[in-house]
């Protein structure tokens, strides 16, 4: 069920699917934040879904091309110059994170939105149309591997990451939460980052009997721990991190309980009518 960045699937799960435990909806966790921010396109209450679990977390990261002559966050802040960051469009990490960093760290990223996908952004980086981009490390290390390994101007250099990761290129990078100093800014970032803690969540429609939800949660947990599944995921270079339904419920509750200040700071993430 494609369309509208999985909003059609989320709506269908909420309003149309039968709550009999036989229908499972998978859609993006970003809708929880959009609900919290009061986006009028989100007409469901994400707290009412039955959350089975999620197979992975996301680790947003930002990288820059060597042709800029900059190698670290420190260089970027010191250079105090405009840097072009490629993006697919609004509502994605490509778009949100550079703007959040402008707000919280004072960087001068200019988001160049409209690319078709990661691959076209990578080409744009190589032809120096953009200087870098922010997106999930699990995707960077798979899709941009030749650029991470390259030498000279074509090298892609990660400079900031959401959480600690063991890979050589990022294990010593500064964490976003360490470099944001203001409490309000940190609260806003953490609210945004809350949706990164449960990616591709599996949900059942509101009203699904509790015992069926429990059964699905158990089955999901067992699948996530299955050695054959883990081996196949590793072979595909897919990172899996099991997040339980109960944990997701807590994340959702925290995001919806956004502070007024964080809501105000994050309001730029939504397109709003001009008054």
């Amino acid at each position: 069920m494609t369309g509208a960045g999985s909003l059609i699937a989320a709506n269908y799960t909420y309003y149309s699917a039968k709550p009999d435990g036989l229908f499972v909806g998978i859609w993006i966790s970003g809708f929880v934040l959009r609900q919290a921010l009061g986006d009028k396109a989100i007409r469901f209450d994400t707290r009412n879904f039955g959350w089975i679990g999620a197979p992975t977390k996301a680790t947003p990261s930002c990288s820059i091309m060597a042709h800029t002559g900059l190698k670290s966050l420190k260089d970027i802040l010191a250079a105090n110059r405009e840097l072009k960051m490629g993006s697919i469009g609004p509502g994605t990490t490509y778009d949100d994170l550079p703007q959040l960093l402008n707000l919280t760290l004072g960087t001068r990223f200019k988001v160049i939105s409209g690319y078709e996908g990661t691959s076209t952004i990578l080409v744009a980086m190589r032809r120096k149309e953009v200087d870098g981009a922010c997106w999930g490390w699990e995707s960077v290390r798979a899709t941009a591997r030749p650029m991470l390994d390259a030498q000279g101007d074509d090298k892609l250099i990660p400079f900031l990451i959401h959480r600690r990761e063991p890979d050589l290129e990022v294990k010593d990078l500064p964490l976003v939460t360490d470099v944001i100093k203001s409490a309000d800014h940190l609260s806003a970032y953490k609210t945004w980052g809350g949706t990164q803690e449960f990616q591709r969540p599996f949900t059942v429609p509101p009203g699904t009997p509790k015992e069926r939800l429990e059964l699905l949660r158990k089955g999901f947990a067992a699948a996530m721990k299955d050695p054959e599944f883990i081996a196949e995921a590793e072979k595909s270079k897919l990172e899996t991190t099991y997040v339980s339904g109960e944990e997701i419920e807590k994340y959702v509750g925290d995001i919806i309980a956004i502070t007024p200040k964080a809501k105000e700071l994050l309001s730029f993430l939504m397109t709003q009518p001009k008054k």
Partner: protein, 688 residues
């Protein structure tokens, strides 16, 4: 020497001379078998099928895995042409342009010739694309990196200028249809800020409006524009698809000879397709139309196109296949997939533990595997074309079956093709809407290809315009590549205008064997033509109103493209309206309408048949919506066979069961497509 060894080694790896080769060859055959049917059946998309095939490669070695996946992927465009030519329904999204001239050839009894031309040009295109893959990999990097967003924008503009040559003599109508296509491409969330545009939330409510957020699907539009008018035509004429007996000209070998008669066109279109395929984000869907436009533009007899010109089959046939080879270049050379299909193939690289990029060119690492890709594309297409040639003369005879026996099957294909675009009933409604538009366009001599060119190029144009402006300011206008393409655009426009003027000054050339089939004009009153043009005036007024009062207050940037398009489109619509009104007023009472060939009683019968087939088409959709596919397919088919077609009870029952078995067995039982339950059954809580 190492390269030659690797090139030879790549071939040996996929041929059944070694035990590893036997395995790879076997999986390639399985892949070809799957790709063959995926191409033929409109309900199955190549990329979606690749995704379904991906889990099977975990336990295969790399050569077998790619033989399996590429074997399937490289033949879908070849077999997709078969459905496009025989039934006027695109087998694949990338074979839609083959309908424009291929299906009229089938109607003239030249199905075999069209199929021969499509298959042979496909084979040439596939081989060309495969060699481009082999040769371009070392130079892919500078080739791709030389094309930035500004150059992309200009290339899209160059493509749009082709609309002029697809206008069928009336350049204003052609430009307006192209503008309409561009405008349709703006429906949905804008690609820059995500503002909903023309989603009719106030009229349709939130649910249908959200469906439109994702834009209008190209497959649904193509099926509607081309297939529905063909079904109506088939029902009205009350004959088989082929109006003339399949004779000597219907022969497959004639089409093969055509490929060699127009050898340079086939090679040039193959090169165009491969180049378009290499460009990230553009693929066979665009390549086919660019090639078709080129075939028209380079022909001295443009008036033959759209009526069954074999060059209109050869150009796209070659381009949509060569694009597949070009498509792989960036994936293999530096791990950057340029389309949905290659993104899935990229997943296969990861599963096999291979990192695309420089290692693929290293003789000590994966160069032999890279060359095996080239051979897989070539061998898979040779096998497919050879198999097709064995029975295509028989398949071409389908066009001699009477229409009443085919129509329910065609309606099933149309609705399945629409539904599976996004697994949504909404796309079936799109098929109906664009079907009505397509039929009216045929009635009033509007060309449909410009609309599709506009739709294909619209998003590319808007995206790249914005990226260029945001990344470079106005400086991009002076990029050398931009200036060169701008010069090409000017040359193309001047050439087009000169060609048109020359054609106007000349008497139309009579081309033997290409007489147009008499068109029964149903809407013969002279009032209808200006009314149809007035519809577009009203449409563009609405578009501009929405742009200024709904979109602009949300985000000025999202409103710019619709404004820039809407104003000239409105001007063109007003011009066409004036032109049609003038013609209507000028025509003396009692003077026959242009194109009107049928006598009054014939027209009455034809009108009755149009109303009847329109009702059946709509009824088929309503049955699917209310009862679900599983119940509606046999029921609606049976009712049509028995009561509209007047077939015997036994034949009606037998064919309805056949339709159900094909539908249920393939799409429901085997592929588990998520067909919705019938709305009526849900209301009655029959599954409760």
């Amino acid at each position: 020497m190492e390269y030659i060894d690797a090139f030879y080694g790549g071939l040996i790896k996929i041929l059944p001379f070694t035990s590893q080769g036997q395995q790879a060859f076997f999986f390639m055959l399985v892949g070809i078998f799957i790709g063959f049917w995926v191409g033929i059946l409109p309900g199955l998309g190549g990329a979606a099928t690749l995704a379904l095939m991906l889990p099977f490669i975990y336990k295969m070695d790399p050569t077998s895995a790619f033989a399996f996946l590429l074997g399937s992927n490289s033949v879908t465009a070849t077999t997709g042409d078969i459905t496009s030519i025989l039934f006027g329904v695109p087998g694949e999204g990338t074979t839609a342009s083959t309908i424009v001239d291929g299906h009229p050839m089938a109607k003239k009894g030249e199905a075999g010739r069209a199929l021969g031309a499509a298959l042979m040009s496909s084979l040439v295109g596939a081989i060309f694309g495969a060699f481009v893959l082999a040769l371009a990999i070392p130079i892919a990097s500078p080739l791709v990196l030389s094309i930035g967003s500004p150059e992309f924008f200009m290339l899209a503009l160059l493509g749009i200028t082709f609309v002029g040559s697809l206008s069928g003599g009336n350049i204003v109508k052609g430009l307006m249809a192209g503008g309409l296509g561009l405008m349709i491409s703006t429906i949905g969330l804008d690609p820059i800020r995500g503002v909903p545009r023309f989603t009719f939330e106030g009229i349709l409510g939130q649910g249908p409006s959200i469906f439109l957020w994702d834009g209008i699907d190209l497959v649904a539009v193509t099926i509607g524009l081309f297939a529905i008018p063909e079904i109506i035509d088939l029902a009205v004429k009350g004959t088989s698809i082929a109006r003339e007996k399949v004779g000597k000209l219907g022969g497959l070998m004639e089409g093969v000879k055509d490929t060699f008669r127009h050898w340079w066109l086939v090679l040039k279109c193959s090169a165009l397709g491969a180049y378009v395929g290499i460009l990230p984000g553009v693929g066979g869907g665009t390549a086919q139309w660019v090639a078709y436009a080129y075939a028209v533009q380079s022909s001295p007899n443009r008036e033959r196109f759209g009526k069954g010109a074999v060059e209109g089959v050869l150009g796209p046939g070659a381009a949509n296949n060569s694009a597949r080879g070009g498509d792989l270049v960036t994936t293999v050379a530096f791990g950057i997939p340029s389309s949905v299909s290659t993104a899935i193939l990229f997943g296969a690289f990861l599963i096999q533990g291979i990192v695309p990029g420089p290692d693929m060119l290293n003789p000590a690492k994966h160069l032999t595997l890279t060359f095996s890709f080239v051979w897989i594309i070539i061998v898979a297409n040779i096998i497919t074309v050879a198999v097709c040639f064995l029975f295509l003369n028989q398949l071409a005879k389908i066009t001699n079956i009477r229409g009443s026996l085919l129509i329910p099957f065609l309606l099933l294909l149309i609705y399945l093709g629409g539904f599976t675009a996004k697994n949504a009933l909404g796309d079936m409604i799109m098929v109906l809407i664009f079907g009505a538009l397509g039929w009216l366009m045929v009635q009033f001599d509007w060309q449909r290809p410009p609309l599709l060119v506009g739709l294909v190029l619209g998003t590319i144009t808007e995206r790249n315009f914005w990226i260029s402006t945001r990344a470079y300011g106005a400086g991009w206008l002076l990029h050398p590549g931009v200036l060169i393409i701008a010069a090409l655009i000017i040359v193309a426009i001047v050439y087009s205008v000169r060609q048109l003027l020359r054609e106007k000054n000349q008497q139309p050339a009579t081309v033997p064997g290409l007489a147009t089939e008499p068109q029964i004009t149903m809407l013969s009153s002279p009032v209808y033509r200006p009314l149809f043009a007035l519809f577009f005036v009203a449409l563009f007024v609405y578009v501009l109103r929405e742009t200024f009062y709904e979109i602009r207050p949300m985000e000025e940037r999202a409103a710019l493209f619709p404004t820039v398009l809407g104003i000239p489109c409105l001007a063109l619509a007003l011009f066409v309206f004036g032109q049609e009104l003038f013609n209507t007023l000028r025509s003396a009472p009692g003077r026959p309408n242009p194109g009107e060939t049928a006598s009054s009683p014939e027209r009455t019968v034809a009108r009755r048949r149009v109303v009847s087939i329109a009702a059946w088409t709509l009824g088929f959709f309503l049955a699917i919506w209310l009862l679900g596919f599983v119940v509606a397919v046999p029921l609606a088919s049976f009712l049509y066979f028995r009561f509209a077609g007047g077939e015997k009870w036994s034949i009606s029952i037998l064919l309805s069961v056949m339709a159900w078995v094909v539908f249920y067995g393939l799409f429901d039982y085997l592929l588990h497509l998520p067909f919705p339950e019938g709305a009526l059954l849900v209301w009655l809580n029959l599954f409760g």
